[in-house]
Assembly symmetry: C2
Amino acid sequence: MKNRQTLLMEKARNDASFNTLELTCLIYGGYDNVERRRAAFERVETRLGVRDNKKLPRCYTGYTREDAYNEGLEEGKAAFEDGLQHQHAFFETMTPRCQLSNASPFGLTGPMFEATVRFCGLKEQKDVWLPLTKSGQIIGAYCQTELGHGTFVRGIETTATFDQQTDKLILNSPSVSSTKFWPGALGFSCTHAIVLARLVVNNTDHGPHFFVVQLRSLDDGTPLPGITLGDIGPKMSYNGTCNGFASFDHVRIPRMNMLMRYSQLDADGSYIRHGQPQLLYATMLALRGVILKISGLQLAQAVTIATRYSVVREQGVGFGDKSTTETVIFAYKTQHFRLLTIAAKSYAIFFISEAYRKEYADLILQQEMSDHSGLPYMHCLASGLKAWSTQTVADGAEDARKCCGGHGYMMISGIPDITATATALATLEGENYVLWQQVGRYLFKCLDNLEARKLIEPQMTYVAEQYKSYLNNVTPKMCPAQGNDFLDHAVQLSIYRHRALRLMTKAWVSVRSSSKPVAEAWSEHMLSIIDAGRAHIEYIILLSFVNAVATLPVCISGELHTVLDNLCSLFALSNLINPTSVNVISFIEDGHLSSTQLDRTRSIVSHLLERLRPEAIALTDAWDFTDASLRSALGCWDGNVYERIMSWVKQMPINQKAWNENQGVYQPGWREWIEPVLKANL
Amino acid sequence: MKNRQTLLMEKARNDASFNTLELTCLIYGGYDNVERRRAAFERVETRLGVRDNKKLPRCYTGYTREDAYNEGLEEGKAAFEDGLQHQHAFFETMTPRCQLSNASPFGLTGPMFEATVRFCGLKEQKDVWLPLTKSGQIIGAYCQTELGHGTFVRGIETTATFDQQTDKLILNSPSVSSTKFWPGALGFSCTHAIVLARLVVNNTDHGPHFFVVQLRSLDDGTPLPGITLGDIGPKMSYNGTCNGFASFDHVRIPRMNMLMRYSQLDADGSYIRHGQPQLLYATMLALRGVILKISGLQLAQAVTIATRYSVVREQGVGFGDKSTTETVIFAYKTQHFRLLTIAAKSYAIFFISEAYRKEYADLILQQEMSDHSGLPYMHCLASGLKAWSTQTVADGAEDARKCCGGHGYMMISGIPDITATATALATLEGENYVLWQQVGRYLFKCLDNLEARKLIEPQMTYVAEQYKSYLNNVTPKMCPAQGNDFLDHAVQLSIYRHRALRLMTKAWVSVRSSSKPVAEAWSEHMLSIIDAGRAHIEYIILLSFVNAVATLPVCISGELHTVLDNLCSLFALSNLINPTSVNVISFIEDGHLSSTQLDRTRSIVSHLLERLRPEAIALTDAWDFTDASLRSALGCWDGNVYERIMSWVKQMPINQKAWNENQGVYQPGWREWIEPVLKANL
């Protein structure tokens, strides 16, 4: 039966100018894929019994650490087995909670354990381990970080000391801070791990190397002698897996468990390095591509929930207006400004992640022909995109949550967990502030090369063409655009490009002209370097969005084309005037844009918002998220918000128990703590 | 025994130029108060058994909804009773988790239930209920918001219909969306509530009024007939209390349970309104003052943890530098830039909350003499400060958490819960975007009054003196400051004042000169109105910081004076150049500050950071937070981070059970989900 909220939702859904399925097909690469993806979700969600959206999802019952882990195991297994059976990879990035790799103990075997063996192992080593990972007989973890050591790999303390007599390596954790800490699935799930440890041969420290280590008995799961394993306890999210710790007390492993493609250790203790593990970077680059993609999906999930809620939630103005009529909150300017700009970002991330995937595929082809020259650019791109997208998504998801008012604070709104998973991505796989510096380092190298008249990567041509005029300060300062020129993507790009060039040349000159030692000068100008990196990446992201819209498949309708084009302009222009944009001052501090131009931009943004408002539900529906994957009382497809909230809340165990067993009283609390207070002063 | 981390902490602590206790006394109002506060914490923490910082705090054991509530009840009772016994109010804002009112079911009786009765009740009504709240015989809740209705009070649906025959009021929830939803302590703890409902007499709707309603039997806690009560389930934090829902099915209450100071309902059904409940606003103003204060304390807690961790956590540069030597991460520019600017904000909030407290006390004195003329200004101030501080604190606490890298993601770091409580404040007691508009409305009224040559509040003199030159566009555009002028607080204030005046006059002109209806024009310019409000409030906050530093008690040492003066300048100036500052573009888009001046500001900020770096630990120690109230493995006073993490992690029940009972295996998971996968393809 329809009620006020479901009718409002129906209306908002019908407002769109384009066919949602068209956009869904664009997102997932065609109708066949959309169908296969839907079928896979249906199979797995049916098996897990989570398709009834009137039922309170288990994760909101207020369960223990153990319950969360059990749920992760069950869900991970279902998704993993479905993927094996149907040969698809939807769940690598799209479990019910959006990312198998960190959310479930079964997710890291492929992208981390297997990939490291594949890239760093000898043929005979691959022949041993890869068949086992493929068939599910190894559940792998990847142990790099230690309690006291994160990003800085050279600082790790765990040692693998060669014992020539027995031809064994002795793995040891020499201190509390050397405890391996954080690896996903390490606590209680994995059977094997890649362990990064310093190779020591005859008292010579050869630095960090990879070792394959069996951690548990395959019979009963008990840790092998000398190995202590455990869970690191509750985290903000990802409690479906057992991020764990491991310490090694002189654990002996065969010499051949060291991955030897790039560094060979012979039985006589002789050690040879065969160059750098260039291919290994491919693992990291692939992983950052996955993070980029899933971060975009997380933002899309958050904005889907918040937009759906906003078109059915009604509220009065509260002042001025004396009436009691209420308006759906999406109609308020701040609300659709916030949500539509966030939606634009989710699409920006989608398009750049598609572009990244293609660049990555090209790189792999090159690398297979031993051409590693594309690595530095891709490394810069991966670092910057990961840092930008994860920060953007964490902030955007949290703002979407705040757009839901008080109800967004309930776990059943589904957004708190999305925000919590998104914010993890800002730290894992490269802390963002470290990554921004890596982007800066690459930009500096580019400028160094250009000054030395050396070649630079083709993707950086925009720098080669124009940096001189910035160094010589002969570039025209004022952006000449006026009126509707700002809707021209070329104008938008020129504004972003100008900022990037100005900031990168400025930072480079500051550091290179400093009289201080390089490291000191670097530290002094760190904020400018980060600003420059961010500006470069924002230019690249806008460029990919503009390119994607310009090269949409011919089958795309004019209506959808217009919507995406407007969304792209909204992305480009709202960033200039959004009070919460990062480092927005740098767009204008050199006088590139005048106050008049900014005011013009503000009216154009206003106009774009008016045009995009009716498309909001379609733009979020297009992601095709199932209700079960959103797990949100506010964000189900039907818009039946209030009935669902009350239904879910009433199913909470604390309520069920109080009502069914104790006439509505929470007995332990009443007796032990409330009654004594009430009766103390009688 | 000392280890590397505790030695690093000792060193960082000794670096300070001033005596920490001096600052602690300034914060808490003298040495006597510091001593009393310490004694109260010691008593309550001892009673709760939480003073041993080697013991894993219960909240991290991964407990259920029920466990969280039990803990909240136990802690709340201990704090509440200690407060009663020793006549102090430390725990109203400072339980182990910083805020009793929302964190514990015992916290709202005073500030919400009792305050409403006091301000809106007749003498005979106060005589009935106030003695009961004072002696703890009533545990009160405050029921305003409904499932479908938040900020907009006129939209509430619950009705209280007068039945003349029986002289009763019939309380009723006519729809799902009218269910009272969110009130703290409502689920299972409170005995009585203030319920806001529409008074209906003879089919006339008189709008929302307050009613005192007994919800539960005092004998056994069962809900009274017709009343359904329950918990709303897990939230991002505040799970120590039972935010709840209530629905009323024709519940009869005596007519005299309507609070009648401002609206009288006689037995014959005649209804008279006696003016506006002006005093009631005092409740809201007091509450926002408390939120302001505790939000500052929450930010201080987060930055205490992150700073302490940052002076003992070591990490290498990761690139460039080839050495393996590591540096404490606080030494990195981005790290101390982020943490010191956050610390500066925590002090800015402290000083403005002190200033607010004094203004509020003056207002109450005035109001007691029936002079309510101070209300509009205070209402604007309260709205703006609440919106600014809660957003600043939520963002700052989250950034402090990110400063802790991966370890900040563990719940045992203590910051996730601080962030989660802080972010709640951005929504509760007035959603921030609504509040910003209220600030804007006040500013518009000021300008309207000035234009009409009417009086305005004395605190707004700065507007009266200068707005004309902004309206006439004759104000000098360029800030004349150069070099170290920027360290002059008068210069800093002039920059903030200029921005505020420019934005408020601009927004006002846009709306007042619009040809559209007021409500439409308001909506169209909503973003500018909010910007103007924020700029005004940031000026007021800086002004209070500057004033506080200028009028420190004479006993304050020169060293501490210098540190606070530098901190104030850091607050003022870093905001101009911090990439994550909100709406920073408005400082410069009119050309008020040139690129050269901004670069000069950047170097001055750099210089201030160098001077403040050695003071960081002292600045956070000064808040005098106990280890038990921080509940952080990263942020204990001794700096013994790694040993404490491992010790707490090993105490996790999931680990204890696996090790003590199952040889290191998590049995249910292994048997049910892992083993089947491992053996499936054998």
